[in-house]
Structures are given as C-alpha cells and as structure tokens.
Symmetry: C2
Subunit: 558 residues, 2 copies
Amino acid sequence: MTVIALLQLDPTVGDIAGNVAMVEAAAAKAAVAGAEMAVASELVISGYPPRDMLMDERFVSACEAAAMAVNSPIPLLIGTPLSAEKDRQKPFNGAVRVADSRTPKVVGRKQLLPTYDVFDEGRYFQADDAPGIDRSLQGVSIGITICEDAWQHIGEVPSDYPADPIEQLATWQHQGEPMAASVNLSSSPYHLAKEGVRARLVRKAASTLGHPFLLCNQVGGNDDLLFDGRSIVGWPEGTVVQGPAWCSGILLVDLEKPEAARWISLDEGEETELQIVGPESEPIMPSKGQDLLSAVTLGLADYCRKSGIGKIVLGMSGGIDSAVCAAIACQAIGPGNVLGLAMPSRHSSDHSIEDAKATAEALGMELQVLPINEIHASVDQTLHDELENGHSVAKENLQARIRGTLVMGAANARGAMAIATGNKSELAMGYCTLYGDMNGGYAPLGDLYKTEVYEVAHAINENSKPGNPITESTMTKPPSAELAPDQKDEDNLPPYTVLDPILEDWIELGIRNDSPLTTSVLSRLHANEHKRWQLCPAPRVSNRAFGQGWRQPLASRR
Amino acid sequence: MTVIALLQLDPTVGDIAGNVAMVEAAAAKAAVAGAEMAVASELVISGYPPRDMLMDERFVSACEAAAMAVNSPIPLLIGTPLSAEKDRQKPFNGAVRVADSRTPKVVGRKQLLPTYDVFDEGRYFQADDAPGIDRSLQGVSIGITICEDAWQHIGEVPSDYPADPIEQLATWQHQGEPMAASVNLSSSPYHLAKEGVRARLVRKAASTLGHPFLLCNQVGGNDDLLFDGRSIVGWPEGTVVQGPAWCSGILLVDLEKPEAARWISLDEGEETELQIVGPESEPIMPSKGQDLLSAVTLGLADYCRKSGIGKIVLGMSGGIDSAVCAAIACQAIGPGNVLGLAMPSRHSSDHSIEDAKATAEALGMELQVLPINEIHASVDQTLHDELENGHSVAKENLQARIRGTLVMGAANARGAMAIATGNKSELAMGYCTLYGDMNGGYAPLGDLYKTEVYEVAHAINENSKPGNPITESTMTKPPSAELAPDQKDEDNLPPYTVLDPILEDWIELGIRNDSPLTTSVLSRLHANEHKRWQLCPAPRVSNRAFGQGWRQPLASRR
C-alpha cells in the first residue's frame, strides 16, 4: 500500500510565512489521515504567479530557505522558486523534498516554461534539462514534473518543446529506475471546459509510464488568475479520480486502490464531491453558469481577502451586469459589507430603480439612491460651450463619469473598493466609459461575454430560491446604457447573441471570417484597445482573455 | 572604397505599407548619395515592438512577404518578422537582403532574445543558433547581427546567454570568411546615459572583429517605448561616428575613411550634428534636461501622429507638471491644437490661475477657466452623509475627479486626447487621484521624477527665450496639490530631493537601504501599485521604469 496526499491549497502571492503555515498544517493533517507522502502545488511557497517579485533575488532566496525549513512528519514535495547558481541567470521553478528526519533537498526543476497567454515563465525562470525524482519512500521512487512539463506529452499547448519529460521518465524507468508513481506540481489556471483535457493528460501520462500519475493543482484567485483546483489522478488502465473544484482540501489516494480515494476538506461550507470514474467515463462538470459563478465569486473573495479589502461599493443601474455583480459581491464578502448606489439621471427609466431596490433587498445589502440630476446640470452648464458644438458622445459619457465619481467618493469615504460592473462584450466594443463605469479596483465580469452573464444570473437565482436576486424584469428587458432617451445597446451594437460568437472566435480562438459584420466588429474592437490598456484586473475564465497580451495600446495601425 | 548607409527611420507599429514606403524612399536616396549597400533597423517592417500582432501568423507572413518585395537599387538589409517553419513554433526576428537584380533572401535570424525590462522577445520569437552573413557586395562579406546579439560581448545586459554571436563571427572570419564589416540591426530603446555604453559596444565589437562595426538604430516613439536613434559606427582602433538623436536620416559611412562620414537628414527642422570622435574621446551628450525634453516631445508627437490624434486637452493647475506638459504638447502637435483648462476650486490659490494664463499665453495656446465650485458643492451635497463620516481623502479626491471629468468632457467633445500631467515620483507614492488627474491617454511625464521635471522646465525656457513659458513663480513655489487649505506636497511626502534618489535607487537599480525613511517610502510605493496597474502609456526614459513588470496588482503582500 502506498498512500499519497495531494495538498490542494490557496496560497497568497508574496505571503511566504502564511503559505508555509498553510502547507505545514495540511501536511500534518495528511499524515494523521494515513498519508505516507504529500505533494503540494507549483510555487506554493511564493504563490502563483509571483511575477516581478522573482526579479528580486532576496525574494527568491527567502522562498527557497522557507521551503527548505518546512516541517512535515512525512516526506513532502513543495513547489518553490530556487535561486540561480550564477550571476545574470534567472531562478528556477523547482520542487524541494522535506521530511521529518531527512535533510531537505531540491528534487526537481521545471523543464518546460510556458511563455504565452497568461504565462510568462520564460521571462522569470531558466529551464532545467531533465525531470526530477525522489527516493524518500522505502524501495519506491517517485517521478517529478512541474505543470507544463507534462503537457508536451499530449501536445495540447500552443508551444512545441524540444523535450518531453514524461518520455524521459519512461526512459529512466526502462533503464532500471522503477517508480511507484509520478507526480505533477501544478498551478494550472481555470479554463472553461479544460477539465476534459486534464483527464486526458493524466490518463495518457499514466499509460505511458505504466503507473499512476498524480496532478496536484493550486486553487483560488491571485490577482486576475483563477485556479479551479480539481486535482486529478489517472491510472494506466484509465481510471480517474478528480478532487472538488473551488475549495481547499487534501486528496488522499491509495495508489493500488483508486476506489479508496478520499477528500479531506479544509474549507467550511458546501462543496462538490470527489469523483471516481472508470476508463470509459469523464468527470461530470456543473453547468457552465454554475461553474462560472463559482469561479468569479472565489476570484473576488480571494482578491479582497488577500488584499485586506473588507468592503465593496458598486453602482446599480437596474441592469443585469450590476445585479449579478452585487450578488457576487454579497456572496464573496457578505451582504453587510456591500453598498450599492442607484444614481438615476434624467434618462433613467422608472423600472431601473425598482429593479435595483428589489435586487438589493433580496440580497440583504444596503442601497442608496443618489439622483445625479443636479450635478449633471451643473457640469452641463460648466462645459456648455464645449458640449454645444462637440460630439454627442461627450454628453453621454458625462453621466457615467459623474456616477464613477460618486462610487469612488463613497468607496474612499468607507475605505472600500469600488468594483467595475462591465462585461467582456461591451469592453471589447468600447461600449463603456473610461473613468466612468470602468472605475474600480476589480471587474468581476470582465472576462464574461454578455450571454455568459445571463447564464451566471440564472445560476444565482437557482441557488437562491425562494426570492430571486435577479428580477424577472432585469432578466428580460433589453440591455441599455440609459445615457440618452430610449437608448438600447442594439442601437449601437449587434444583438449579443450575434456579437458574442464573433468576439469569442477571434479573442479565444484567433479565427475570423471576412463578412462585413465581422470586419466591422473587429475593427471596432481594435480601435478600442486603448480602453483595455487601462483596465482594472478581471478574473480570467479562459487562457486567451484580455490580458497582458491584449493590452495593445493606441499607437498602432492594422 | 565601401560606402554603407544606415537608415535611421521612425516606423509605425503595424503599418506595413507605410514602413515599406519609408524604407524604399530612404534606400533610393542612399543610393543616389553613393551608398553601395544600405542597412535598416530591427523589425522596421512591422515597427518595434509589434507585441501580440506577432501571435497572428497572417501578420507575420504579411511582414515577411512585404520585406521580400521591397524595391532597392542597392543591396539592402531589412529587419522583419519571419514565419516559423513548423506548427506550434514561434516566428523569427530576422533580416532579409533585397537588391535590384538579385533574388531576395533571408540572411540572418536573431540569436539572443532579450526577455527582461521592456523586452519580451522570448514570448514572441524563437532563437536561431548562429549570426548571419551577406555576400552580395563583390568580394566582400558582411557579418549580420540583430540588436541583443551584440550585447553579450560586453556583458552589459541582465541576462547571461550561452552564445556570443560576435565571437562566432570572429571565428568564421578566422576560418576563412573575410568580412569588410559587420552590422547590427537595432531597436535599442532610449536609456538615460546609455550612449556611453553603445560607443563601448561598437568599439569592442570592431576591435574583436578587426573591422568596422555598424549599428543602425530605430528612432521615434511607438506606444510607450522611445528610441533615440544615434546610430553609431566603431572602428577597430577606436574611432566612433555617431548620428544625431531624435530625428530620421541616413548615416553614410565610408568604411575606409571615418572622417568622411555624412548625415543626410530626412526630417525638417533643426537637429543635432553628426559626431566623429577619436579613440580617446566620447560622443558629447546634450544636458540631461534637453535630452529628456527631446525624448518626451518626440514620444508624444509620434503617439499622436501614429494614432491619428490631432488635438490635446489638459488640465492646467499653475503647477510645474502641467506647465511642462503644455509646453511639450504645443511643441508636439502645435499650440493651435492644444486646449488647457484651468479649473479653480475653493482651495486654489490666486497665483495658480495667473501662472496657468501666463504659460498659455507664452505658448500661444487656448486656455479656458472653468471654476468647479458649483459642481463641487453639488457633489458634496449628494455625497454628504458618506463624506461626513468618512476618510478625509475622499473629499480631496472629489476635486481631482471633477476636473478629470471636465477634461475628458472637453476632449470627447473635440475629438481630442486628454493627457495626464503626473510625474513618476507622485505616481510611485500614489500621490495622485485615480480617475482624476491620472485621466488621459498618455502621460508625457510619467517616467520622469519630479526633480527631472524641473530640469526639463529649465530646458524649455532655455529654448524659448525671450518669454519663458514656465514662469518664475511656477518654478519656485512649493509643489502643492491644492486639494485642501494651504496643502503642500511636503506635508505628505519627503522633499523631492530626498524622495527621488530613494525611488530611483529602488526602481531603476533595485537597491535599497534599511533606513526608516526608505522603508516607509517603499512600503508606500508597494501599497500604491494598484494605481499603476491602470496607468496610461508613458514614454520610457529608462529600461527599468514602471511598466509591464511593475504592473504588480493588488492581491499580493510583501
């Protein structure tokens, strides 16, 4: 019998001491539960992604020293940055092995450094040229890979690498180093529908190696990156065990008995169940709306908790975006810590205030109604000459900027964070106001297309029966910015059911057709890139989102 | 006699056709002037840096095809992205050789890919394993390197590379491939005081190779990156010829006669002179203030020209930052296209308006005075309950956000771009208002410390005698945000002469001491990183500025 524990944890980037304490507590619990060995996730000591902190050698060496000093009653593999051996060289992304009575040692260093999409590891790390191995269990070796190291084997990544660490482990085994299992320390970001791919990965690696392949993943949000957990184990004949998503815990696996796998929760509250599926089956996924809701809620909750933010302020227009944001904020930090501002102007419809009030009441959060007519008139007056002869969009934006000023004023007064309520479709089209509704420290829906916002809204109502936080009226009225009389989004944009597939094809898949509609949509998308340059963090629900790569600023033509 | 022309040009990122036309015109002119061969800069066809456009294979192959089709009466080396040879591989950063009667061909591909500071080439390109060579001149070979390829030879870069292409060229020569010269196609960003380093580079490379080393650099601004030009040639015995900065032109060099070097201007207006210096001397630099002024002025001018922006709006407080920004804007796009808004509140001093008026008058630009008292009172009233019990900073920020709203309103009405007037010192300390004075599409002073802004102000006045645009009062009054009665920056910050060296040490050099003052300054710097996350582009005057790397968002502790 060999029992290995995968520690699915939620580290905070930069909080070395806190991350060490979390790893130690989980390893102790795993030992009590009968684990003979434990595995933590990639860079768990620094948190993933540590970004430019890695350029500070003091930070890297502090991480390495802290990892080496971790207390564990059983052998424990820990992901951590490791200092370079020479000047002008970058650090390694590695794994150290600690154990009660043994000298801690480096047992692996990442070979394949993803440098695309949300990843920038070539910027921060140097690559090693072989996988790792640990021999601390009596008579049993464990192969060690780190995240991307395992992915070349199924070719499901945009980069082609000259090496395949899984094949290298198989060769070593063939040459006389028998292994009981191989592990993968991961910080594998959430990606809609990625789960099927991870099952394929562990199955293929296990099949190639002829032994179980165990992937321990980070969970939680760090800045704009979300990690779903779902640590996963594959056996050579195809059985798969997958841990729950969006929560911390220990996945305890007996290598010889997949059906004996257990999940030890480290969170409070409900969570999805451990799944054990045979070779012909796939782990079951929740609905897209429910999974996205869990994703963006944990993203906002972690952003607040890890940054010391205890209160949130947001504008509530009566529309679906702000209603969904309010529900997410209440779930993330508690309704008593959320303030909504309804800020009607002369163009606002009656139902706007009613819907905002109904949502706030259903959620149990505070709502203030602050009409902006007087401020609006005063600004109109001050800018009269400019507005009189200028582009009409200037007038529309004024209202959004006045609201943005009130939201920030209330947030500053309360020591709260403002959140921006926009979605990915409007952001792509520039159908939003810079320094207006784009104000905020975080945009919970910033990576969700408008049609996905509706799916999330339905999930919120499903979870809240009785008393739908998102009213029927909010769900069904035509989207409107309400910045001009009787304005509707469809006056300026294609219907979202038409627009979203065009955007999704281009942004997520890089494909487009040459239809006039697609051409006009994408030229508008490119023309509005300057707005995204100043975007606040938004949780990534895909790996080809607006992000660093999409921050293409203004001075370019195509 | 062998005469080579270095084409120091200002391409626009993404404007393939425009860049091709610019290269063709310059090559034709060089041929008329007697050049036997011409060299353009790195990635001149795509412009540098093309960033995520490189992830679109259609863009890469369009660049390659366009480069191959360039018309030139003489052999011409052109920097361009080149398509990968296999799936899932990244493109190359290469050089093609075209000439009147010859088949165009790829003659070099970059070996060393900088992936630090402002560079991200490991993200976009794959590396080749050897330098390039061209044999199109009769009986004469030319060694080819691309930018970073030459820098390993003097070790002045943060990365250590396994190869040194200059040594490889020397080895080839030793093995029987005589070369008349080696060239370096560069897009080498401006870096305060970098010029001494470039002279050292070309001297050492020429000395190692035993023949002249010619570096052709890009000039101009693309997004936030500035290129100073200053194309430079070194001879083995130490003579150096350096072209002018901040302008386009052709540096015509006779390999056998350094003293015969000529500069053919492609710009209108004044420019600095070609410098020819002996082995014991260094090229002369203008004063720091003058060089920075030229840098940020071309940066803003290019940003506007390349993005189709014809008008600028900015807030003018009577302080030094906005006065300097106004002068730069007038120089960049003409005073008739610049609108200043003076927006006094109840906390503004009398001299504020007077100084703003005097600056606008000296510059010949329009100034409107829009008092914000009424709007301010109206917002105060609307937010009364929140402000009454809240943090006092909320009140101060209101004024900045009202002004930001007016600036954006006027900019939207006129189809102009707002510029943010803040400097690097206040931005580092968070001593500025997000969605207030940080509003704008571009921040001309965003990479200048406050003490450097004064140096630039003196340079502006030096260039403008008689009639100083920056008034004596603006120069000498204590800096103040004027957001509370009698407020001074020094009430909240150390004096800038103390603060700036602390910031510069940490941000540019990564060094710090453990004094209580440094500790408090840097902890404030880290606490305000969320503001920089939403920063608009600012011209980089150093290679370790606030930028991608410094965009460390909020959810992290250190």
